[in-house]
């Protein structure tokens, strides 16, 4: 009886499994259409970067060149893209460390203390979520000029930090509030002060939220265009996005060279995407995936 039953079940399961293996054609076709739309420009950028400048116009729309060349990459590297890489990395690392450090301190205070001043501070940060960067850029420019940081890499950091704080604080506060009270109580009983609790309890437990905010802010800073555009002038302090935009003018019709530069600029993020896709996508929608 039991054997007969399981055979019958297996028979019934067969068409269902077959149906699961053969996807529904309508979503499949639409899904493939979007695949072409989303992926083709990226693909075309890459195959163009492997073309010679002379062969660019006659190249195939779909196939990589039969004799791919890396001369465009060598040209871009000789043109000093390495410096812009370092500039971007410098601003990104310092900004992200500062954003996360000051936001973690503030988030701890906001999550743990109910005093009115603290909660008003939180309200103020939330208000900051609504301030578009564009709206404050003119006074920021005036301020950075006045304090003598115009046209330096250091001048890019404070505004990046200021605009990274609100969302970072919000995410960390939500996370720290979820840490069970008993854990805090036991540390308080042990006589630990706020800084010790933050370092020994909150910091290790907040790792998932910290990864999210590090990724989110790193991408924001790495890809930011408006601050470097307005706060710098000399080519030796350009970050990657601004340098790319300037390449456009310099390279003019050398589209393969330009595409090589674009590819190099996004390479670190593609590598990150390959090794940690889930965390990267989580970081991208940080705070909005809500």
């Amino acid at each position: 009886m039991a054997v007969g039953q399981s055979t019958a079940r297996r028979e019934a399961a067969k068409p269902a499994r077959l149906r699961r293996m053969l996807p529904n054609p309508i979503p499949l076709v639409l899904g493939l259409v979007w695949f072409v739309i989303a992926f083709y420009p990226v693909y075309y950028m890459f195959i163009t970067s492997l073309r010679t400048q002379a062969g660019f116009l006659s190249g195939s729309l779909w196939l990589p060149p039969s004799n791919p060349t890396i001369e465009n990459y060598l040209g871009v590297i000789q043109n000093g893209i390495g410096l812009y890489f370092l500039n971007s990395a410098f601003v990104t690392v310092i900004s992200v460390v500062l954003i996360v450090a000051v936001s973690l301190l503030a988030a701890y205070a906001i999550a743990r203390i109910r005093s009115r001043v603290v909660q008003l501070t939180f309200r103020m940060f939330l208000l900051g979520l609504a301030i578009p960067l564009q709206a404050a850029i003119i006074p920021i420019y005036v301020l950075i000029v006045r304090i003598g940081l115009y046209d330096t890499l250091y001048g890019l950091i404070p505004p990046q930090v200021a605009f990274g704080i609100p969302l970072t604080v919000l995410i960390l506060v939500n996370f720290i509030r979820d840490i069970p009270n008993e854990l805090y109580d036991s540390m308080v009983l042990d006589g630990s002060g706020h800084f010790r609790i933050l370092w020994n309890l909150v910091f290790p437990l907040s790792r998932p939220a910290l990864i999210t905010v590090v990724i989110y802010n790193a991408l924001q800073v790495w890809n930011n265009f408006l601050f470097p555009l307005i706060l710098t002038q000399s080519s030796n302090v350009q970050t990657l996005p601004l340098a790319l935009q300037q390449f456009q003018g310099q390279y003019g019709v050398n589209v393969p060279g330009l595409m090589a530069a674009v590819f190099l600029s996004v390479l670190p993020i593609i590598v990150l995407y390959v090794v940690a896709r889930r965390q990267l996508l989580g970081g991208l929608t940080a705070g909005f995936g809500k």
């Binding site: 501070t121 995407y273 929608t285 995936g289």
Partner: protein
């Protein structure tokens, strides 16, 4: 939970507050003050009261850029919302081929706005770019166009590129939202004999209500500030064809050196942005929005 504001707590708040007040909130307030000045950034400023504001609402270039910005907002919503919603529902399915396609769908998210602008402007939409070559290859030469150089088309080309840039982000939101929908709802519907389309319209769509609201407001507030892609692709041109409000602000303040007038435009941007964000908080509430984050 303590209610006391101790020294150590103040010390913890101080660095974040200092950065935020000096480099974000302060400048925002200063923008309101500067908007009341006639100033080129160098010489002595003159107080003009609401002169710049009056100008913003009478100057034909600024009025035109407000009109363009509203167009970008509305069209971006119309283009991005249905596509993102369908793609999100599509990717929420657990089929392996969908997960594989998703890896490619999200690629545009990795690129800076500048990189996206350059890819589209110089290799896809240029006169000898891929789109025109494709149209010629399929025998539709009459449809080829100077996509970014034709003032009647440039705005739509820009909106399309912005959609390409942001649809993956909204797809992620809808994917997460769809995965939050309890499976029992679908099981019950199937027992009642509901087909795939009925399940979509009677379960998926209503259950995604808050995601739609969140995504909508992000598109609307985002449209106010789209700058990078437009600046890189067209610089606001040809003529004034793509000079939206953020570009008008930038050009006025930093190219024409009208810092006061540019600030008035910046404050208009901020006020509209804050109003839209307040509507977002009003309609969704942070608490309810949080519960939708877990499907990621």
């Amino acid at each position: 939970m303590s209610r006391r504001l101790s020294w150590s707590i103040s010390l913890m708040l101080l660095p974040a507050v200092a950065f935020f007040v000096v480099f974000a909130l302060g400048p925002m307030i200063a923008a309101v003050y500067i908007s009341l000045l006639d100033w080129n950034g160098i010489s002595t400023p003159h107080w003009v009261g609401f002169g710049n504001w009056a100008k913003a609402f009478t100057d034909s270039v600024t009025l035109h850029s407000i009109f363009l910005t509203v167009q970008v907002m509305v069209l971006s919503w119309i283009v991005q919302t249905p596509i993102s919603l369908l793609l999100g529902v599509f990717l929420a399915g657990r089929q392996r081929y969908r997960a594989l396609l998703g890896v490619f769908y999200f690629l545009p998210l990795l690129f800076s706005a500048v990189a996206i602008g350059l890819i589209w402007a110089s290799s896809m939409l240029s006169a000898n770019g891929a789109l025109n070559s494709f149209l010629q290859a399929i025998g539709a030469s009459s449809l080829t166009n100077d996509w970014l150089g034709n003032p009647n088309i440039a705005l739509y080309a820009v909106i399309a590129v912005i959609a390409w840039q942001f649809i993956p982000f909204h797809t992620l939101l809808y994917q997460a939202g769809t995965r939050q929908i309890p499976q029992v709802l679908y099981e019950a519907a199937r027992i009642d004999g509901a087909g795939t389309l009925q399940q979509f319209f009677y379960i998926t769509l209503p259950q995604l209500k808050y995601t739609v609201v969140t995504s909508t407001i992000l598109i609307l507030t985002g449209s106010l500030t789209y700058f990078d892609v437009i600046y890189v692709m067209t610089g606001g041109g040809p003529g004034y064809a793509t000079r939206t409000l953020p570009l008008q602000m930038y050009i006025t303040a930093f190219q024409d050196a009208q810092i006061g007038y540019g600030s008035a435009i910046a404050v208009i941007l901020a006020v509209v942005g804050v109003l839209l964000s307040l509507i977002m908080i009003r309609l969704t509430g942070f608490g309810r929005m949080e519960s939708q984050a877990e499907g990621l």
